[in-house]
Amino acid sequence: MRILALRLFNVKRFAGRGVAIENIGEGVNVLCKPNEFGKSTSFEALHALFFQPHTSTAGEVRNLRPYSGGTPVVQADISTEAGQYRITKQFYTGKSARVEDLVSGRLIAQADEAENFISDLVQGGAGGPAGLLWVRQGITGIEKRSKAEEDNEKQVRASLLESVQGEVEAVTGGRRIAEIMNKTSISLDALVTPTGRPKSGGRYAIACDERDRLAVAERALEADVQQLRAALDERATAMRQLTELQKPDEKAKRVADITIAQSAIETARQLADRLKAAEAELALARERHQAAHSENERFQDAVVEVKSLEALTHKANLKRDDAVAKRQDTTATIDAARMEAEAAEKEASEARQLLARLDAAEKARTAADRLVELQRRLQNAETARETIEAAEAELAQVKIPADAIDELQDLDVEIVQLRTLRDSARPTVSIRYEPGHTGSVSMNGAPLIDGQEHGYDGHATLVAPGIGTIALRSNQPERSDDQLEQLVAKRDALLSAMGVADLAAARARQVEAQKLEAQINEAKAVLRVLAPEGMPALRSEIAAITPDEAEEIELKADPVATRQVLEDAEHRRQQANQKARDAEPVRERAEGAFVGAQTELATLAARMQQTAALLGPADLQETKETELQDRLAKLSEDLEQAEAQAEALRAKTPDLESLRAAHKRLVSVDQGIDANIGQLRETIAGLNAQIKARSDDAVEEQWSETKDALEAAQMRVAGFEAEVATLQRLATALDSARSDARDLYLKPVMAELKPLLRLLFDDVAITFDDKTLLPQTILRNGQQEDVDRLSGGMREQLSVLTRLAFARLLARDGRAAPVILDDALVYSDDDRIEKMFDALHRQANDQQIIIFSCRQRAFQQLGGNILQLSDWDPT
């Protein structure tokens, strides 16, 4: 927002007339006039226009009125991003507020709507600083201050400081928020510890304790009441039982019952005795009857038995006869077979002996042949062995090791090689005789043949006949090695060892040895054929053939026929034996059957004898049978009678044991009831005491009282809990709001303030109290100074700079607002004031600043747009 013009009518000293400040521009605007010229009036009017409702009659509005009264009118033209407007307010009589479009003159809003319009302009949105861009000798203009206070020179300094504080407070809540937070925390501290637990000794904790105490008491009382009720119930039951038990006719009835039971037992006992006697009689009769019955039965059985035995004996006799016949038959068969077998055996034995003798003769003949053959082979073998021995002896003479010959051969070759080598290195002499020459030169006695080379070693003497002797010296050193000589020696040794003169002789010997070896091998092969297992084996084989074996037996019989005879006899014998064997089991079975039949017959005979004894003589049998029948019939009758008697008694006699049990039960019931009555009386007495004590204590009343009290205490605790929650929520809200404010405004303002401060002072920093967020100390040249102790000039400069910082912040936020200063720099010296002017101009680049001042000379240096007051007629 930017102010374009300000007009006022009938305001303060301008009673009945109007003045206007037109052409207020961007940047720095200065209205510099002496005192009493209407600057402050203009300022106040402008402030009232923006901050006082047209309906207001507050002090500030009242002050606008001239002494003569009337209706003050204030008007301002403004420019915003949305457009240009004219705002007019008239106070008191005909109070009104209007907003018009400056260009078209159209009415945009009036009355409350106009107020809202204005409010939007100055507030620039929720939470933003409102009037803080107004400064008047350190007074923000929105703080209410008494006239007396304002006039007080001493107060001025303080209020200058507070104006800065006011800026901050307006943003952060400052002292008020600190005070409210303090109140909150005092309230909270009274109730809870910093960790949120009930503070001991506090009302909250007392309420909690009370609640807990009541809860315990309530539980205890409830238990008491339950006990009491249980006791009451128990007693009621006991009483009921007791009454029931103590009914007088009940007791009489019980006693009568017992007497009846007793007499019943007596009667039963007598009956039981009679029954016992009857039972004995019955037993006797039964025994007798049983005996007679058995006898009769035995007799009848014997009659049947005799008949059956006779049949059985007849059958057994038949069986025995059959077995005897079978036995005789089979015995004859077996005897015949045996005789035949013996005859066959005899024949076979003769044939067998003959065959044995035939065999012996054959064997002896074969042994004699073999002896002759073996003896021939032995002789030949002896011959072969002798041949081998002779050849082997000869071979030992001539045998040369095969490698010795090879070695000899190698040595010869090597010797020739060495000799040749040596000869070729030797100095040689050769001679060419003149033709027609006679005689010849000899060397070392050997004649030199024409054209032939002759070697020599070391020195040689040539004899040239007719000429003299020629000494030849090779002057060659003697050979150091005697390899050749060694080799020769070795060969010679080898030769002598072999016993031959030279290699050829050796070879001849070798051939001879090979011939001998072949001879030996051949003889050996012969020997192996003759005596494959050696000579001793052969000899012992010969020795093994005994002379008698070799003896010849002369027999004319034909062995083949003899063998056939033997086989036939054997066959006959086997067949006879088989026949006997086949008949044997039949005979054995017949034997067994015979024995069985005999045994059976013996048994039957014994039984028959026994039965006959029982029956007695045959002629008396019938009589005996009749006697027996009659006796049985009589005894049956007796038994029936005895049984009927016993049965009658048995039916009459009651069970004595159950009668006794019933009696016992009745007696014990009676005793039990008596005991029970005693016990119930005791129980009731005990319960009586218990109930009486508790009833007199009125535990139920106490219980219900405590229950109610507990409920109330719980409500109280809940109330405290709600209170704590409320306070804690409030504390949190305040805390976060303050820290938000710090982050949103205070920090950016500080950032804006820093470069401004640097314009005026070198090395100055302001610190703010963390809790109140109010300026606390100034750090200058490394020294901390309390803000309260700053000079008036310094304070007002700080105040203006802080405002400029806020303004800048707002401008950046797109909510530019004019900064209006009324005699704001009173205490500043010339040097500082120039620096302040610099700061203002610097700030005025994007900011409207309107300055009212009476310090004409000092403010000449400020420059900027000079404003003039002109007359204004609102009509």
Binding site: Q123, A126, G127, G128, P129, A130, E169, A170, V171, T172, G173, G174, R176, I177, E179, I180, K183, T184, L228, R229, L232, D233, R235, A236, M239, I691, K692, R694, S695, D696, D697, A698, V699, E700, E701, Q702, S704, E705, T706, K707, D708, A709, L710, E711, A712, A722, A725, T726, L727, R729, L730, A733, L734, S736, A737, R738, D740, A741
Partner: protein, 372 residues
């Protein structure tokens, strides 16, 4: 003509532990005094009997002084026959109580402890249905149907318990059939248990408690004066005010802009506040200032009453910009207030959180008023 007073549920000895100070004592005293009050009413209206239809004593084991002083009070009014019926609070199960009463009761006190007719006066038969246990689990009046009395007798039934699902103790298994009077040929059935007087049918009534003991019935304690001209005549039933203390639960619905202090003052009884227990449930809407003013007014007014409680959790705080302006026009305080207001109106939050936020805002408002 037979005339008697029908009352019930005296709950003598009830201690009122939820209150503090001397109020419990005063309430107990008032319960005892109601005996004299009933006797006076009987005298002044020419009633010859007072039927107490159960719960004469609050517990099965009243303190001896409660019991003795009650009997002494009854003995003072010799010309009146007092009939005491066991109720569910003082059932026959409380054998000690009843044996004490039997021993101590003066001649003019009749203990109706058996379900058999009692000759209450010449030509008047009383058919009591005493509670045998705390929860009898059956209709105890059933025997009355078969109980024959001489011709020309006025038959009066006396019973304690619920006739339908409602009951003072919320135990409904033993319900008295509402048409018992017709079935049993009763001229009048005097019932106890429900603490507010109710006409069930022209011959069946709950008398209600003569001295209220809870915020339920919003009506002072009453007793019934019953006049029966003769057998089968319709009973004439008149209500007698007997209670000393008035228990009132009041609803205060506030509209935005309404003056809550005035509304509260109009709502509350002006007379005999000393004997008034009031619970005010506030609902509706109120501005911060109004709310604060209401709280102050309630705190101030509470001194007039025997007991006073203002329950304002249902009251919605309405906040306008100018309300918040009174906290601060801007800055951190305003921001805190805005945050709390927003939280209090945030439907996504729990009821409890919103309540706390609203309360915190109200507190902030109150604190802000104190520091400005």
């Amino acid at each position: 003509m037979f005339r008697f007073i029908h009352s019930a549920d005296l709950h003598l000895g009830k201690r009122f532990g939820s209150f503090s100070g001397d109020l419990p004592g005063r309430l107990r005293e008032a319960r005892h005094n109601v005996l004299a009050r009933l006797a006076d009413d009987a005298h002044s209206h020419g009633a010859s009997a007072i039927l107490l239809a159960g719960d004469t004593f609050d517990t099965e084991t009243p303190a001896p002084d409660v019991r003795r002083q009650a009997l002494a009070e009854m003995a003072q009014h010799k010309d009146i026959r007092w009939v005491i019926l066991p109720g569910n609070h003082d059932s026959l199960q409380a054998a000690q109580l009843w044996s004490n009463l039997r021993n101590e009761a003066p001649d003019n006190v009749v203990l109706a402890v058996d379900p058999s007719p009692i000759a209450l006066a010449e030509g008047v038969a009383l058919l009591p249905a005493p509670c045998t246990t705390r929860r009898p689990g059956r209709d105890l009046t059933e025997w009355m149907d078969a109980c024959a009395t001489a011709d020309g007798m006025i038959r009066i039934g006396l019973a304690h318990g619920a006739i339908t699902e409602f009951s003072e103790d919320k135990v409904a298994s033993d319900v008295i059939t509402p048409d018992r009077a017709v079935k049993a040929g009763l001229d009048y059935l005097a019932l106890g248990d429900w603490h507010g007087a109710i006409e069930v049918n022209p011959r069946t009534y709950y008398s209600g408690s003569p001295e209220q003991d809870r915020f339920k019935h919003d009506r002072p304690g009453e007793a019934l004066l019953v006049s029966i001209a003769g057998p089968s005549a319709s009973p004439q039933v008149d209500r007698l005010r007997t209670g000393t203390f008035v228990w009132q639960s009041l609803d205060l619905h506030l509209l935005d802009g309404e003056d809550p202090v005035q509304a509260l003052a109009q709502l509350l009884p002006s007379a005999d506040r000393r004997h008034s227990l009031a619970r005010v449930q506030v609902s509706g809407n109120a501005r911060l200032a109004a709310r604060t003013a209401l709280a102050h007014a309630a705190a101030d007014m509470a001194h007039d009453f025997a007991w006073f409680e203002l329950e304002d959790s249902e009251l919605v705080t309405v906040c306008e910009v100018d309300d918040l302006d009174q906290i601060d026009k801007g800055g951190a305080l305003r921001q805190a207030a805005d945050a709390l207001l927003a939280e209090g109106r945030d439907d996504r939050r729990s009821e409890q959180d919103r309540g706390v936020a609203n309360a915190a805002l109200a507190r902030l408002y109150a604190f802000a008023q104190q520091v400005s």
